[in-house]
C-alpha cells in the first residue's frame, strides 16, 4: 500500500498549502494506520470542523472513536486559549493577594485575545498530546495551512531562546536578592524567598519546550508529510516550506501528490489541463525526487466517510501514471 512510507513514525504531520486536500489525506492515512493494527489518533486543528464533516460526526477536543482503532480529536485554538487562561486564573486566585485578583483577571482576559495567544495555546496542546502519546501508537496531525504550521512548529525554537534569556535575567535577580538578604538581615529583606517561584515556573516552561523540540526534531519519532497538487503555487510553497523545516531540524517524511488527473481525460478542457499537469509532475520529480512520494488520483466524487476514505487510500500509487490493471 502506497500510504505506508508515510506512516513509519509514531508522530506524523500532514501539511501543505490551503485546499490541497490535507484533511482528506490525513484522515485516509490515519484510517489506513488504524486498519494496519496501530491504535491511531487523528488530531485536527481546523476550526471549521472539516474532519467532523468528513466522518459525518460531531467531534470535540477529546478523542472520540470513529472507526476500529481510530480516534479523532478536533482542537479549537480559541477554546484552547480560553482553557489556558482559565487555568492561570485558577492559580491566580490561590496565589494573588485578594485585592489584586480582579485586576489580574482583567489583564488575563486582555491577553486571551492578544496576537499569538491562540497559537501558543495550540502548541501547548500539541506538546501535551505528544507527551501523553502513550495511549496511542500513532498520532496523525492534520495541520493548518503551511505558513501557520511552520510558525507553530518553530515556536519551541524561538520561545525557548526568549525564555532562556528571561531565566538568566531572573537568576541575576535571585542572586542579588540572596546577597541583599545576607547583608541586610532576614528582617529587612522580608519577602525575598530563598526559592523563587518565578524562576521555577520559567525553568519548567523551558523544560517543556526542550521536550517538545526533542520530539519534533527526532527523525525516529516524527515525520512531516507534505501534500501538494500538481500546480505551480503549491509546488513553490512546498519547496520553500521544506527549506524552513530543514532549518528547524524537523524531519520530512515525504510528499503526497494529490488530485492527479486521469490518464485519458475526456473532453478538450481536461486534456489541456492534463498536458499542463505533465510539466508540473516533472517539476515535482525534479524538485522533490529525493523524498518518498506517492500519487493520489482526482476522483469523480469527493471522498466521504470511512468507506470513501478507504477507497481513496486504496487508489494511492507510487507512479504518477495510472496502473494498468
Amino acid at each position: 500500500m502506497s500510504l505506508d512510507p508515510f506512516l513509519l513514525r509514531p508522530i506524523v504531520f500532514f501539511g501543505g498549502k490551503g485546499g490541497v486536500g490535507k484533511t482528506t489525506l490525513a484522515a485516509a492515512a490515519a484510517l489506513h494506520s488504524a486498519s494496519g493494527g496501530a491504535r491511531t489518533l487523528l488530531v485536527s486543528t481546523d476550526p471549521a470542523h472539516s474532519t467532523g464533516d468528513l466522518f459525518g460526526t460531531d467531534l470535540g477536543p477529546q478523542p472520540s472513536s470513529v472507526a476500529a482503532g481510530l480516534w479523532v480529536a478536533e482542537i479549537d485554538p480559541a477554546l484552547e486559549a480560553q482553557a489556558y487562561i482559565d487555568d492561570v486564573k485558577d492559580r491566580v486566585e490561590q496565589a494573588t493577594p485578594p485585592r489584586l485578583v480582579a485586576e489580574v483577571e482583567r489583564q488575563l482576559d486582555v491577553a486571551r485575545v492578544s496576537p499569538g495567544a491562540e497559537e501558543a495555546a495550540l502548541f501547548e496542546r500539541f506538546a501535551r498530546i505528544m507527551e501523553e502519546s502513550g495511549r496511542f501508537e500513532r498520532i496523525v496531525f492534520d495541520t493548518a495551512p503551511t505558513a501557520q504550521t511552520l510558525r507553530l512548529l518553530s515556536l519551541p525554537e524561538l520561545m525557548s531562546a526568549w525564555i532562556s534569556g528571561l531565566i538568566s535575567r531572573r537568576r541575576k535577580v535571585t542572586t542579588l536578592g540572596r546577597m541583599w538578604r545576607n547583608v541586610a538581615g532576614a528582617a529587612a529583606a522580608e519577602g525575598i524567598e530563598a526559592t523563587d517561584p518565578i524562576l521555577e515556573a520559567l525553568e519548567e516552561r523551558m523544560e517543556r519546550f526542550n521536550k517538545a523540540r526533542a520530539t519534533l526534531t527526532d527523525p525516529e519519532r516524527t515525520a512531516f508529510t507534505f501534500v501538494v497538487v500538481p500546480e505551480r503555487l503549491p509546488i513553490l510553497e512546498t519547496h520553500r516550506a521544506m527549506g524552513t523545516l530543514a532549518r528547524y531540524g524537523i524531519p520530512v517524511g515525504g510528499l503526497l501528490v494529490n488530485q492527479v488527473l486521469p490518464d485519458k481525460p475526456d473532453g478538450r478542457f481536461l486534456r489541456r489541463r492534463k498536458e499542463r499537469e505533465a510539466g508540473y509532475l516533472a517539476e515535482i520529480q525534479y524538485r522533490f525526487g529525493d523524498w518518498p512520494s506517492a500519487y493520489v488520483p482526482l476522483l469523480d466524487e469527493d471522498p466521504r466517510g470511512v468507506a470513501g476514505l478507504r477507497r481513496l487510500a486504496s487508489l494511492v500509487r507510487t507512479d504518477p501514471a495510472e496502473e494498468s490493471d
Binding site: I85, A95, L100, R106, G116, R169, R170, L176, M179
Partner: protein, 102 residues
C-alpha cells in the same frame, strides 16, 4: 584601698573605653563600607527586578512580547513587584495601561 578602687575603676574605664572605640570603629566601618555596599546591592537588586518586570511585561509598554502567553502565569508573583515599582518611581497611581494594582 583608694588606689585599689581607683585602679579598679580605671580598669573598668579602660575596657569600656576600648569597647567604646571598637564600637565606633565598627560604626565607621559600617558607615564607610557596609552601608554603601548594602545600598548598592539593594539598588542593584531592585534594578534587576524592574528590568525583569519590563522583559516579562514589555507589552504593557507597547513593546511586543513574544512570550506574553507564557509570562502570564508569572503574574500572581509579579504584580506586587509592579506595585512597589510604581511607588518607588514616584507614581502614587499605577501608570495608564498597566495593572491597576491600587
Amino acid at each position: 584601698m583608694r588606689s585599689g578602687k581607683g585602679r579598679l575603676s580605671s580598669d573598668t574605664s579602660f575596657w569600656s573605653a576600648l569597647r567604646c572605640r571598637l564600637q565606633s570603629a565598627r560604626e565607621i566601618y559600617e558607615g564607610v563600607y557596609m552601608a554603601p555596599y548594602r545600598s548598592t546591592i539593594h539598588r542593584e537588586y531592585l534594578r534587576q527586578r524592574d528590568l525583569f518586570l519590563i522583559l516579562g511585561f514589555s507589552d504593557l509598554l507597547g513593546v511586543p512580547n513574544p512570550v506574553q502567553f507564557y509570562t502570564l502565569e508569572l503574574l500572581p508573583d509579579l504584580i506586587d513587584q509592579f506595585h512597589s515599582w510604581h511607588l518607588r518611581m514616584g507614581m502614587e497611581q499605577p501608570p495608564e495601561g498597566g495593572f491597576r494594582c491600587c
